[in-house]
């Protein structure tokens, strides 16, 4: 019981911290990090509610399966969000004068 409580409360605190950071910080990478921390908190709560101490029976596998798929999806979403952030940065930089050369030309020369 105590273990369930410890991990649930940790998940809750992580969720709150991530949520707060997600709103007040402006840097896109930090927002993505905050979303990751938030999702971790949610997973922690989900798995902690299914926890049973060693030797007192089997563990409910359904939350584990849910969290397993959740982790994989969250990683792919993170990757997509990172690429989106990069694109936003590249396009917004290239619209400014004087910064186009650094961002754009090397990519052209690679091709």
């Amino acid at each position: 019981m105590i273990t369930t409580l410890i991990y649930s409360l940790t998940g809750l605190i992580l969720f709150g911290m991530g949520f707060f950071t997600l709103i007040i910080h402006s840097h896109p990478l930090r927002k993505i990090l905050a979303v990751n921390v938030m999702s971790t908190g949610v997973f922690l709560i989900l798995v902690a509610t299914a926890y049973i101490p060693l030797g007192e029976g089997e563990i409910d596998p359904v939350p584990h399966a849910m969290v397993l798929t959740g982790i994989v999806v969250s990683v792919s979403v993170t990757a997509l969000a990172l690429i989106l952030a990069c694109r936003i940065q590249e396009t917004s930089n290239s619209s400014l004068p004087g910064k186009r050369q650094q961002g754009e030309v090397p990519e052209e020369s690679i091709r």
Binding site: G16, G57, A65, C86
Partner: protein
């Protein structure tokens, strides 16, 4: 020394109000968690009863690929969608100055990439009776791809696109195909016929592991493959470029 950005001195009125709201929300959620009667295994017995029929010994794998198979099917589709989104956004990212590969790095890749593939296969096979499965195996397989991408092996930029696409959709196609096959045989979507569950699950897991590995590697590459090769191989971009010229 390490100044945190959440120093209370730096917060203005709006942020303070927000902090208060977040704390209220967290306390409310905490009360809900506190008052929920926990530690009651809800579905453990239900899973344990059907474990015999599922064809695998690991309960998590049974839930993932048999009892709630359509969830996993949709999830594989989500991964495919992530790759489609990435490919439609930008081209693959390769740093402008490619540094030469030092012998140590080359040695690490030569040593680790095959071992990673081996461990991936081991995890997929192990998924039927212990921890492991398509996702874990696929992740390790993807890590091997990422290792090669990071080292910028010269062959990687000329990878032909059609096999890559085939590999990406192999898992979803196999999964959907088997689901429809089961629909014809037993009348249920993903209702495996008696006794064949284990083999079908292993087949699905292998296909999905390959797809997930390629998906993660392409997500790391950060975009579609170079246009040059795409133009040569795919009819779509050929017509587009033809229209443009």
């Amino acid at each position: 020394m390490s100044r945190t950005g959440k120093d209370h001195k730096q917060l203005d009125g709006f942020q303070r109000m927000l902090l208060l709201l977040v704390i209220c929300m967290v306390m409310l959620l905490g009360y809900i968690i506190w008052s929920t009667p926990g530690n009651k295994p809800v579905l453990t017995d239900a899973v344990a009863q059907m474990q015999e029929q599922s064809g695998v010994e690991s309960p998590v794998t049974a839930v993932l690929l048999n009892f709630r198979g359509y969830d996993t099917l949709l999830e594989v589709m989500v991964l495919l969608l992530a790759v489609i989104g990435t490919w439609s956004l930008t081209e693959a990212f390769f740093p402008e100055q490619v540094s030469e590969i030092s012998p140590v790095q080359m040695g690490v890749v030569r040593l680790l990439a095959p071992v990673m593939c081996l461990v991936a296969a081991y995890l997929v096979w192990q998924g039927s009776h212990l921890a492991g499965g398509a996702f874990q195996g696929g992740a390790i397989f993807g890590a091997a791809g990422v290792l090669m991408l990071v080292t910028e092996l010269p062959g990687l930029r000329t990878i032909p696109v059609p096999p890559l696409r085939l590999g990406l959709v192999l898992g979803p196609l196999l999964f959907t195909g088997i689901a429809l096959f089961c629909l014809f045989i037993t009348g249920d979507l993903l209702g495996y016929p008696e006794g064949a569950g284990g083999w079908l699950i292993l087949l699905i897991e292998t296909g999905c592991a390959v797809s997930i590995g390629l998906t993660l590697a392409s997500l790391f590459a950060g975009g579609r493959p170079d246009n040059e090769f795409q133009g040569k191989n795919s009819p779509v971009s050929r017509t587009v470029s033809g229209d443009r010229s």
